[in-house]
Amino acid sequence: MSARSYIVDDREKKTFLLDREALVSEEVLRGEISQVFGRCWIYVGHSSELKKPGDFRSRRVAGRPVIFCRDQQGNFHCLFNTCRHRGAIVCTERAGNRRRFQCIYHGWTYGNDGRLVGVPGDDAYAEGFDKSSHGLRRPARFEDYRGFWFMCLDPEVDPLSDYLADAKDYIDLVIDQSPSGEMEIIAGVQEYDVAANWKLMVENSVDDYHLPSTHSTWLNFMANSGVKIEPPKEAGLVLPTRGKAVELGNGHFTTDNVNFRGRPVAKWIPLYGEAAKAEIDAIRRELVDRLGPERAQRVADTNRNLVIFPNLVINDGSSVTVRTFYPEGAGKMHVTAWALGPVEEGESARARRLDAFLTFYGPGGFATPDDVEALELVQQGLANWAEDRWSEMSRGMGKEGEQLNSDEHHLRIFWRRWNEMMGASA
């Protein structure tokens, strides 16, 4: 692997520059498919998507068609959706419940635990042909943290729990919304392409510097809906409240912001309507009773946009979204986004959560389309990369101590880790 570095990280001069080739080059993409996506834990799905034995979802994870499923005993599996015979996809449905997956080509049939259970005309094979060694292949590792399942193609990788490092605390904070500690993926998925490099989505998901300029129409909408949007009171802030960027280890990081935009769990804003007040108060009381006042405040009064390196984002903001994305070429990515909520959430609270989601997130939301536009404009602008080579990412480097959500500290964490995984020495 080349030792070439894509960043200039000068801590003395307090400058951080990114070589734009990292965002446009197909060769870089080939490198990151093996060096990054081939070696990191990659999000597959959530246990709530498979409620019963036999439930399955077929999807692409890090470019690989997989079947995320449960066997008859209820064990979770991640199987490569590729027939061992001649290579065809064996599960063509998106979701359902099946004991068997049968390849349409020659009829090889697999159990929902991946075992090969049927080969038409198997007497034509030589005696040594062993069905038990022809089960569906699977990624080297498949582990979960509190219902979030990840796969890794590298058998030598650290256990998921070690890999997640301090990000686990922030996952816990999301899950603490639920009285039973169980969250679920809500029906309905948003899948859309963005004509931009996938790493721009990582940046955008945690970059609070862009909010006032990219999302002024969302801020207007919030103000029109009775939410007080006060000008920042402190030097360096760009939003009404204070927020910081936190490093979580292994390339993970989060923003951690004092809420001003309301939260379904559990901070009322006028947007939710007067009728919602009593229910949100009750949700909040439950939090305080269960978690104590301090922890309840952490859960209910802060927003956190969490990045699990390299491509999982859990935004606990206007609502909770689980979002993952994968490159389809250097200048294009495919995004999949779900909403997450407590399993015991009542009908009206669930409806409010989904409505709050749509005020900001998604292809028809009041903010995401403008993010998509910003990322696509970056990608278009980068056509000049060879003559205009460096992106500037040193915001916040000049100061001591805490880094704000609107600084670029967390973006630098991502890029340092990425650069290191790509084989560069810092």
């Binding site: 309905g188 899948e191 990219t214 002024s216 969302w218 207007n220 749509l358 292809p363 389309p369």
Partner: protein
């Protein structure tokens, strides 16, 4: 004294109304378009994998009540709505219009559509699907009580966003 017999709703009347609506949207006359809505109007775009879902328990792409539609129009008329500035050019083709139900003053209508969208130098984006309307008959013609847009694509994919009124 004669009592007026309930008038029959004709497909031609419904088509005229849908074509007029399509022209207003294609021409970005969103104020005039809003005047076609009832005070309790709703606008839904279900997710591609749950076309028959209920927005109260399923994550939609768009689930606007009347107030949210008003805010959506304010937003997309604002030059700071970057996804629609410069504005998309759209061209809607509506066909296979069917009246599928009439109950009192409400008329349920199904139609097919293709909406072509162009932005700057981008290639064409083709939104293909079905409209489902609940129209209210008034003394002043139809008003839209519900407007549901079912996109046929299995995922939004390269269509990207639904940042305009589809």
């Amino acid at each position: 004294m004669t009592v007026a017999a309930p008038t029959v709703v004709t497909r031609a009347e419904v088509e005229d109304f849908l074509y007029r609506e399509a022209a207003l949207l294609d021409d970005w006359k969103l104020g005039e378009w809003e005047a076609l809505l009832t005070d309790d109007a709703a606008y839904y775009v279900p997710p591609n994998d749950q076309l028959e879902g209920n927005h109260r328990n399923t994550l939609f792409l768009i689930a606007d009540d009347r107030e949210r539609i008003r805010q959506r129009v304010i937003r997309i008329n604002d030059p700071n709505c970057h996804a629609e500035y410069p504005r998309s050019r759209t061209r809607r083709m509506i066909s296979n219009v069917r009246i599928v139900g009439v109950e009192a003053d409400l008329v349920t209508v199904a139609a097919n559509f293709v909406c072509y969208r162009f932005r700057r130098h981008e290639r064409i984006r083709e939104y293909v699907g079905a409209y489902r309307y609940v129209l209210r008959r008034t003394g002043d013609g139809f008003r839209i009580k519900e407007r549901r847009v079912l996109i046929d694509a299995h995922e939004l994919g390269s269509l990207g966003s639904v940042s305009f009124i589809l």
